[in-house]
Amino acid sequence: MKNTLTISGSPHVHGSWTIEKAMYGVVLAMVPAMLVSFYMFGLGAVRVMLMSIVACMVFEYVIQRYIIKGPVTIMDGSALVTGILLAFNLPTSIPSWMIITGALVAIGMGKMSFGGLGKNPFNPALVGRVFMLISFPAAMTTWPKPIVSRPFFSFQGLDEKVLDSITGPTPLGMLTDGADGTMPEYVNMLMGSMAGSLGEISALALIIGGVYMLARKIITWHIPVAYLLSSFVFAGILWAVDPTQYADPMFHMITGGLILGVFFMATDYVTSPMSAKGQIIFGVGAGVLTILIRVFTPYPEGVSFAILLMNAFTPLINSATKPKRFGEKQPA
């Protein structure tokens, strides 16, 4: 009897919160946007999603098992989150081998080379996405139009001719390049009926997921609110200066990957600051950078670059923003 007693320091009880609960909570929050992408883009979206998830998890397994030779933790949900996020950042027409390459960069370079979960300075999915954007610029910016008006199972694959007829520019693309195309109505953008990558098209579905994560306290409000407000205000200032040259702030809110980035990529635990103050600085920085890149550079979209740049600032922000200590100042 006595031999079986556990001796350890206090506390002797532990809460029920685990890595898995947080990660699978994020996965659940991404389901609405995932369903919208399947509905809008059909089987092509399912293919991209599955390829990305499987590739990310397989690479994590292979690296942990055969290269690091450490414990295999592919079921903790973090590789799954990376896989879904990577897929969310890709167009449905992307060839499979590119997805696999992107997943290898995301997991291998973005995460495992730094020591795995918790050690990576940059969001792995974004590392993969930006690598693909720079390496395969054409494939990464060919955006199939949603198929809602067509029968669900009619997607033909990657035949050039078919592609031509069913692709179109994203709303942000039209803005930056002056590309031809009819600008969709805001309502359609909110619901997801516009050209774009898998996960970014329906702002509404993403917001539902974001609210779910806030309600379950998986994330706090600081980064999303700071990010949304700062990009809205910055875009608003530009629009107020010259409404003919700059898009209105509402347009910036619901187009491109902004909402996706705000709720699902900027809030990544590992790569965002620890204190509330730091998270607000992080959010504001990402918001301003996003609009800067969208408006003043040849890139139509700036969310990925903005978040990656702010990721680089995270250690600095952490050492500059300490939480308020108890007893530091007398309450009024």
Binding site: M1, T6, G9, S10, A22, G118, Y269, E328
Partner: protein, 429 residues
Amino acid sequence: MSAGEPIVSFPLPKQGVIPVTQHLGAPAKVLVKRGDTVKTGQLIAQTAGFISANVHSPFTGKVKKVDQTTDASGYKRQAVIIDVDPQEQWEEGIDTSHDLLREITADAKEIVEKIKANGVVGLGGATFPSHVKLMVPEGKDIRYLIINGVECEPYLTNDHRLMLEKADEMMVGIQVLMKGLHVKKAIIGVEANKMDAIKHLKDKASHYEGITVEPLKVKYPQGGEKQLIKALINREVPSGKLPLDVGCVVNNVATAFAVYEAVQKNKPLIDRVLTVTGKKLLKTANLKVRIGTPVSQLLDHVGGLPEDTGKIVSGGPMTGKALTTTEVPVVKGTAGILVMDREEAWKATPRPCIRCAKCTQVCPQGLEPYLLHQYGEMKRTEEAEYDGIMDCIECGSCNYTCPSARPLLEYIRYGKAETGQMIRNRKSN
């Protein structure tokens, strides 16, 4: 679980082990030797140094030996071992009746003397000698006496029962402390999940001058001294300072009761109320136990240890100490015995920090536990000091909340010890 169990007096054991270090500070100096006969309440070890406390014999009997024994901390400590004579004989001058003595005849100086003589220490957990708290240094203006009725930890109900059953004695004890400190106001803070106690105390307090009862929001660690002061008078004790510096002195409800007995009844601190609890126990209990009673006998009283016991904790689940054996004595600081089954005792394997910031969100002291954990692990004492490791109150909230089940507090505690050593070395140089 045990909140509904009235306090029961526990029978005398056959043998008692009374450590001479049951308080924070220097060990008391032993006054008895092998073969001596002692009476109940007789002084057997005397204060040695400013921060130290007297120890009295809780039993009548013969000193078997004075020896080193293991106490709840797992360390060997000097203790007086007494063969107990069931025929009790009390030391002269001790009032063992149950009459309530409301009139306070002692003056402030006598109050401090009596509390010191009778070995009263803080019964909330820290066991700081109570008389030292009453010796307020010149120039400090004390305005409030704060009484901690929060019951620092989940599971424990000893303070709750005491508030329900000994409220009058407690009120007189509070008045004694107020007189000793020359303060006009006392506030009793009780968490709002003990409405019966709040109502009862409010009722009693109306008959005593200057005592108010405040219900507090239920949150851990509301019973932490600094957190309690913040909640009651909205003042924050600065880093490295004492409650004195924000004009108050804090005592636990059980200490207030002990003060009543010491000053009004001249009874030394030889027994205390504690909770014995656990999910798998046949029954739970709140017991009035003599100091020196072996923990194993308390467990026998509640039906013995269950088959799948995984851990026995002295104190509460958040800050208590895991016992290596049940053959340790109850001491002044033993607030409870918690028996956990194997499932509860199971610890998840720590995984990498995912920097989710939950620990910084819950830290009541505004620290960054994930960072202090790293400093502790790497012995980076200077950075640890800069980032406030010494302000940690060891409440365990960070550990509790960590999704990676990292042993944050264990490393922070280690870091505190190393950092404290560094600070002491610096001062002595």
